[in-house]
Structures are given as C-alpha cells and as structure tokens.
Amino acid sequence: MLELFLGILTAMGGFVEIGELTFAVNAGSKFGYGLLWVAAVGTIGIIVYGEMAGRVAAVRGQPVFNLIRERVGFDAGLVTLVAAVAVNVLTCAAEIGAIALVWQLFVDWPYRAWVAVAFVFLALAVWVLPFQWIERVFGLGGLLLVVFLAVAVMEAPDLAEVGAAFMPRMPALESTQEYLLYAYYSVALLSSIMLPYEVYFYSSGAVEDRWKPADVRRNRLIVVLGFVLGSLLCVALIIVGSQFFGPRHVEPQLPGVVATSAAAHFGVAGLLIAIGGMFFAFAGAAIETALSAAYGIAQFFGWPWGRFRPPREASRFTITWLAVFALATAVILTGVDPVSVVEYSIVFSVVILPLTYLPLLLVAGDRRIMGEYANGPIARALGWLYMGIVTVAALAAIPLLILTHGGQG
C-alpha cells in the first residue's frame, strides 16, 4: 500500500518540467482559460499510453524501444531512435539550463559555472542513488510545486468559467496570426503533457522494478491517479497565468518570474518553496531524459541495461547516459538560451509521438502477445483516437513553429 501511495505521489511530483511550466503559464497569460481543454485532452492521452506501456512491461517484460525494434524492424526503428535520442538530449539540455537559472536565484555565481555544477550533480545523483531513490527524491521534491495550486486557489478564479473551459472550443481572436498562435500553443501544451520520454522512462522503470502481470492493477492506479493529480498542477499553472500574469501583461519565460506569483501570496516562504519545487522537477526531468536516451539505445541494440545492474555489468548503458548529460551540458554551455531550447524540444517531441506510440498500441492490443491483458474496447478506442490526435499534431507542429516565428506571434 505504501509502495502504491509513493508511486502515485512520485508520478504527480514528476509530472511538471520546464517545458510544461513555461507553456502552461504562458498559455494562461495569452489565452486565459482558453487552453484548459488541451490539458484535459493531454492528460487522458498520457494516461492511455502510460498505462499501455506499463502493462506491456509488466506482462511481457519489454520496454518501448525493445518493442519498436521487434515490431518495426531495424531501419524504420533506427529513424525513430535517432529522433527520440535527439529530442531527449535537447530536453535534457533545457532542464540543465533551467536548473542553472534556478540555482542562480539562490547563489549569484555565473550561469555557466552553475551549468557545470548541474552536470556534476546530476551525474553523481544517477551514479550514487538506487533507481527507486531517484524516482522518489526528485518526484516527491517536485511536489513542492503544489504551492502553485495554492496560488491558483488564492487567485479566486471563476469556477464555473474554469469548468466550462474544459470543453474543447475555439475562442474569438483578433487575427489569423492569433489563431495560428493559439493552434501552436495547443500543440505545444499537448506535447508538454504527453512528452515521449515519460513513456520510455515509465516502461523502463517498470522493468527496473521487476513488475509482473500481478502489477497491472497497480500500474493502472499509479497512472490514473498520479497523472490526474499531476495534471492538476498543469491546470493550476494555466490559472496562475490567466489570473496573475495576464492582467500584469507578463508572459513569463524565466522560472524565477513564475515564482514571483507564489511570493505575492505567501511571501519569502512561498518564493523558496516554488523555487525548490522547480529545482526538483527540472532535475528529475533531466535525469529521466538522460536515462530514457540510454534506455532507448541499449534496448534497441540489445545491450545489458538498467540501474539495477552495477555499472560494470552495463558499461555501454552507463557510458551512454553519462554522454547524454555531457552532450546536453555542452549544448547549454554554447550560450544558447535555455528558453529557446525548451520551445524546440517540446515541438520536436510531438513529432516523434506517433512513431513511438504506434508499435506500443499494436502490441498492447494483440491477444496473441498480451493474452488476457490485451487492450479492452475502451483502451483500444482511446488508443486509436489518440493516435489520430498525435498524428495531426505531429504533422502540424513544424509548420506552426515556422508560421508563428517560433511561437512568438
């Protein structure tokens, strides 16, 4: 029972990362509650595919990239792998940059010095901590972001209006450019909630934790409760954007600016809790993306992998996640703005979503492989519905990025 409870809390605390923080608050500031429905659509989507990934891992002991190689073949699978690793490195770079920005708010060292410290810290954390501790320390620490739920409540939003905004609708905007920007934010917010690394990490984690078919029910509870509670944080961030930042003409890009909303209501304590929560959330996401890239490569090429193995037994896997941290750090040390990296990592993430999810959907629905644990009618219908949604989003993502000048307008 305690394991289940901790699993739900870590899923909730690990839900938000720099991309979701930025896009959710900005979506609220630009469009009010107009994109709350996207948060609901994205949450159901990540529940559907997260549950499938956990179930397949529990029943077959196979994580996502193992399935991709097996079902799609080497050539097509390799294209997906390369795209997924590139996106993971970009996302990891964005998280490392965001960690440095957050640490600067506590101790005013040069930004690049903090980036280097972040690299050492993250590498040590993964090297030293057992897998379950990595999940728990950063997942539970990320729960400090609950302060934004309190801020959202303190802002006294119109609950009837909030409730109505969960129904998909097209708002009345002033120009074609505004509609394009609204579409861009819809795709980006959906992507930030359904980030593919979450599914890679979750399914690999299930194998690391040696889940068995008996864990299928536990998997369902963790995914549904953890992700629904996590999405409450996303909803709270949209409300904070709409109620606090919108009227002040602020469309925040820097994490520290987002934290000022907590300070406005709860003073220095609120500020420190918000910044602390951001640190744990970003560090957790950096670790998950680096490990996800290493999981993907090791699973695809059939190398021994997993944090449950000593580094010597899984040497290529260990070198890979260290290399991902190093590469991501190098990207940020070039001086590129981490906020820009966030935008590109989120948009490119949605492009690989259907390539990742299709093999998973086909395997999870196959009775010859999954037996009694194969997708039922609801999972099958939702799975195909979301395959259609993420495919449309993937096709629209890059054109929207270009037409909106990188999401700026």
Binding site: R71, V72, T80, V250, G256, A263, L272, L395, P399
Partner: protein, 152 residues
C-alpha cells in the same frame, strides 16, 4: 502484424518529413518572393513583457517578499534579455516600423538602466520604490505601443 507496424511507421515518417519540407519550402518561397513581413511587433511584445516582469521584481523587492539575491539574479537575467531587445530595436530603426522603433528604443534604454539599478540595489528594498514607479510608467507606455504594432 510486424509488417503492418513497419509499413505504418514508415508512412508516418514520410508524412512528418513531408510536412517539415513543405513548411520550410513555403517559408523560403514567401521570404524570396513576398514582401518582407515586419516582426517588430514581436520585439515590442517581448519588451512589454520584460518591462512588466521587471516591475513585478521591483514590486516584490519593495514589499520585502523577495530575497536580495533573488532580486539581484533575476534582474540580471532580465537585463541581458532587455539588452538584446534594445539592440533589435536599433536594427529595426533602419528597416521597418521606424516610428514605433524610435519611440520604443529610449524606453528600452531606460528599462535596461532601471533593471540594472534594481540588481545593484537589491539589498535595499526601499530603493526599489522609485524604480517601481518609473517601471510602471514604462509598462503603461509599452502596452498600447505593442498592441498597435500587432498585425490585423
């Protein structure tokens, strides 16, 4: 099923690739053949939000609800972004939206000076009050300017 999965994933890869190539082609075609579209409204919108963010920091500092180091570091992070926007406005003065850029440029200079002053005097909350007032005035001037520059 393996054959189906491979074929469908290949189709998806081709479709996504075509959407990227098509979007890049369209953007190149417009850039080569069309009238260059001004993006000054983006710069002005960003300048407005950076000014409003500096105002929030000044407000929080004056009310002692932000720590001095937070104010110092956050104002410095904002200042580097404001400096980039000021440079972009200087470039815009010679290209497009001359009138708006000329109006906004001195505002960006003052905004940068105030944000740097906020960082330098982070240990003295009372020093943030006059900065807050002046930043408020800059935000009030930038809001209509950024709005009127938007296309449509």
């Amino acid at each position: 099923m393996r054959w189906h999965a491979a074929r469908w994933v290949r189709w998806l890869q081709v479709a996504v690739g075509l959407s990227i190539v098509g979007a890049l082609g369209f953007a190149t075609f417009v850039a080569v053949t069309g009238k260059p579209q001004s993006t000054l409204y983006i710069t002005l919108g960003e300048l407005r939000t950076r000014a409003a963010e500096s105002l929030e920091i000044a407000r929080g500092s004056a009310a002692s609800r932000l720590t001095p180091n937070f104010v110092r570091a956050q104002a410095a992070q904002l200042a580097s972004r404001i400096a980039s926007l000021r440079d972009a406005l200087a470039d815009a003065e010679t290209h497009d939206g001359v009138a708006d850029a000329r109006t906004a440029r001195p505002l960006s200079e003052r905004l940068l000076a105030l944000t740097r002053e906020l960082a330098e005097r982070a240990d003295t909350p009372s020093a943030a009050r006059p900065i807050e007032r002046e930043l408020g005035a800059i935000v009030e001037r930038l809001v209509p300017l950024a709005r009127s520059a938007r296309p449509g």
